[in-house]
């Protein structure tokens, strides 16, 4: 065995992949819920950033990581509520508002950070992990996967819950109807606006949590623009997954794995230009699309505003 690929190093790589993948997964999962209900949520990057900022802020001042996650989710939801108001209720363009929210959130968090933290750059303490008895004793994957901050287990549970809601509840049917044929949902006596509002708020919650995770667990610090396009990758993941939550999880982990592979190659001193290595995850996705490229099955009503009785 080489001196490099020790158990500790492999563990760190897997751990890194998971830690990088979780925010992408939360964003993708959130986006998927919105899209299922017919709302193209381009503002997800902004929701993540606000979530990262509020999550960090609260975790830092209260010392409670959980309060941080809670307020990060609330922060994401606050941005999402603007999206719900402007796009779902009033029917303003989802693209305009989405991008506006992202730009505004970028500016606002950078501004606040500048006045609050740019002298001190506070950093959080290490996040406590929760060992799952038995599993955590496994070599390599034990410490990498089963001795992690409990929020990770919760995030993964969110995938299962979403899958369950989609597949086996009336709410799942309603979400799908809202994206496929909102008029039919309305005629069945379900308030389309309410369903979509709920979906968008849930997206905000998940994206905000993803941002908070990134700041609290991923980095232990907030810096401006730290989401760095994660929201957009979330959008891609959601669309690739075609409505299946589990695929979002797999896609996010694959993405994280690509990042870890990049690091591993570099640490191993493989002499490929760094920029070439960094094209890896994107090239992989494109290759998948070229090989398996089938008709994308986006909800027919995606992006369009629903007005009852309009022609």
């Amino acid at each position: 065995m080489s001196a490099l690929f020790t158990e500790a190093f492999l563990t760190a790589l897997i751990l890194g992949a998971v830690t990088a993948g979780i925010p992408l997964m939360l964003a993708g999962l959130g986006e998927q819920i919105s899209e299922k209900a017919g709302v193209l949520n381009i503002g997800i990057e902004g929701m993540m950033l606000i979530g990262a900022y509020t999550g960090f802020l609260v975790a830092y001042f209260t010392g409670s990581i959980w309060l941080g996650f809670f307020s990060g989710s609330l922060g994401g939801m606050a941005v999402a509520s603007l999206m719900a108001l402007f796009c779902v209720r009033l029917g303003l363009s989802q693209i305009v508002i989405g991008i506006a929210l992202t730009l505004g959130a970028e500016g606002l968090t950078a501004l606040l950070h500048h006045f609050q933290f740019s002298q001190s750059y506070p950093r959080l303490e290490a996040v406590e992990s929760l060992a799952i008895p038995g599993l955590s004793a496994l070599p390599v994957i034990g410490p990498a996967l089963f001795d992690r901050p409990p929020i990770i287990y919760l995030a993964i549970a969110a995938v299962a819950v979403t899958a369950w809601v989609f597949r086996s509840t009336n709410l799942g049917l309603a979400l799908q109807a809202a994206g496929d044929k909102p008029a039919a949902l309305d005629a069945a006596g379900v308030d389309v606006i309410a369903v979509r509002t709920g979906a968008v708020l849930t997206t905000g919650l998940l994206a905000g949590l993803g941002g908070a995770f990134m700041a609290e667990v991923g980095a232990g610090i907030f810096v401006p623009f730290m989401t760095n396009g994660a929201g957009f990758i979330g959008i891609v993941l959601a669309m690739l997954a075609r409505g299946r939550p589990l695929w979002v999880l797999l896609g996010a982990l694959l993405f994280g794995a690509c990042l870890s592979a990049t690091t591993a190659l570099q640490v191993a001193g493989v002499d490929i230009p760094t920029d070439v290595i960094q094209m890896l995850p994107f090239a992989a996705v494109l290759a998948i699309l070229v090989v398996f490229g089938r008709r994308a099955s986006l909800p027919p009503a995606l992006g369009s505003h629903y007005v009852r009785g309009a022609r």
Binding site: Q119, S120, I221, L259, Q266
Partner: protein, 320 residues
């Protein structure tokens, strides 16, 4: 007559790094010369021509374009507005009365940092984490690795770049640093604006493979005010002498006849002494510094990424 100078920086002057050193130095040099120093920060890496023209119009007598990304635009606008400009990373652009370069390479300091790291590493592995591969960082990465190997020939030097345009990727900084720590590094030489705070967090909350503390060696600025006990040292760049010299040259109508640089010799590059460094080791470092200043140790900066990849430890070597 020279009434004011202006400095343009890509990011905020509060980063305990490149931007802050530039801004602080411009203010200090201006104050020393009794002239105003205008600061335009956070300009990003896009088109700074409007800002350059604006500052020229406002009467700046010297434009300091404090980013290698500005070194095409600044001479152009300087020529247009007939104002001297100072740029980085283009020594060949020297033009009398118009352009002078202050390519900063902290490679001498980084070499010392490498020696220091090798002396203090318990695990025999040190790591370099960068958020990108600009020339000045490459030069320091190479020098750090050379220094470490000069100190201990069999030391392992691990290297990783965080990601695409990752200057703000704090989470990536933490992730990659943790990977290097897991690969055995107990001293991390980190270069990377916003992301360096992620590296620092990883070091503060993690452990080396031997269970002990991991140390961080920073570059350019001095993070002592925000240290939690893991800051081992920093390759500090002091630009005040550089800017002061420029101001003098402008006043004396000699600007553009020479370039400027930073070096150990005049303390514009220095290695930060923290209380983590034992006195005896520090004394050895001081001696090495003298050797460099005296020319007994010869160092040439290498600015390209390939040189970095060539000096860091390859897997094949490690597997032996």
């Amino acid at each position: 007559e020279l009434k004011s100078i202006a400095i343009l920086t890509p990011e905020a002057g509060t980063d305990y790094g490149w931007n802050q050193q530039g801004v602080d130095a411009a203010k200090a040099a201006g104050a020393a010369a009794g002239i105003e120093a205008v600061v335009a920060e956070d300009l990003g890496y896009g088109d700074v021509r409007p800002t350059l023209r604006g500052l020229a119009q406002e009467g700046a007598g010297l434009l300091i374009a404090h980013a290698s990304g500005y070194n095409t635009a600044a001479p152009e606008i300087g020529a247009e507005a007939k104002i001297p400009v100072a740029i980085v990373d283009r020594p060949d652009a020297l033009a009398a009365g118009a352009v002078a370069d202050y390519t900063c390479s902290g490679h001498e300091g980084a070499y010392l940092a490498g020696r220091l790291a090798a002396k203090m590493s318990r695990t025999g592995t040190v790591g370099i984490v960068v958020s990108g591969e600009p020339p000045s960082w490459n030069a320091q990465s190479v020098a750090f690795a050379e220094g470490a190997k000069a100190e201990k020939a069999d030391i392992t030097v691990r290297y990783a770049v965080i990601g695409p345009a990752a200057y703000a990727d704090a989470a990536g900084g933490k992730r990659v640093t943790e990977a290097l720590m897991a690969a055995g590094a107990d001293i991390i030489f980190g270069q990377g604006n916003g992301s360096s705070f992620g590296m620092l967090q990883a070091i503060e909350t993690g452990k080396a493979t031997d269970g002990g503390k991991v140390f961080f060696i920073d570059v350019i600025g001095d993070k002592t005010p925000i240290d939690k006990g893991n800051l081992l040292s920093s390759v500090v760049w002091n630009l005040t002498p550089v800017y002061s010299a420029m101001i003098e040259d402008v006043k004396a109508d000699k600007f553009g006849t020479r370039n400027y640089g930073i070096q150990l010799a005049d303390d514009s590059v220095s290695l930060l002494k923290t209380k983590q460094i034992p006195d005896d080791i520090w004394a050895q470092i001081e001696a090495l510094k003298k050797d460099i200043v005296d020319g007994k140790i010869k160092l040439t900066p290498k600015f390209d990424a390939e040189s970095v990849h060539a000096v860091v430890t390859q897997l094949a070597v490690a597997a032996e």
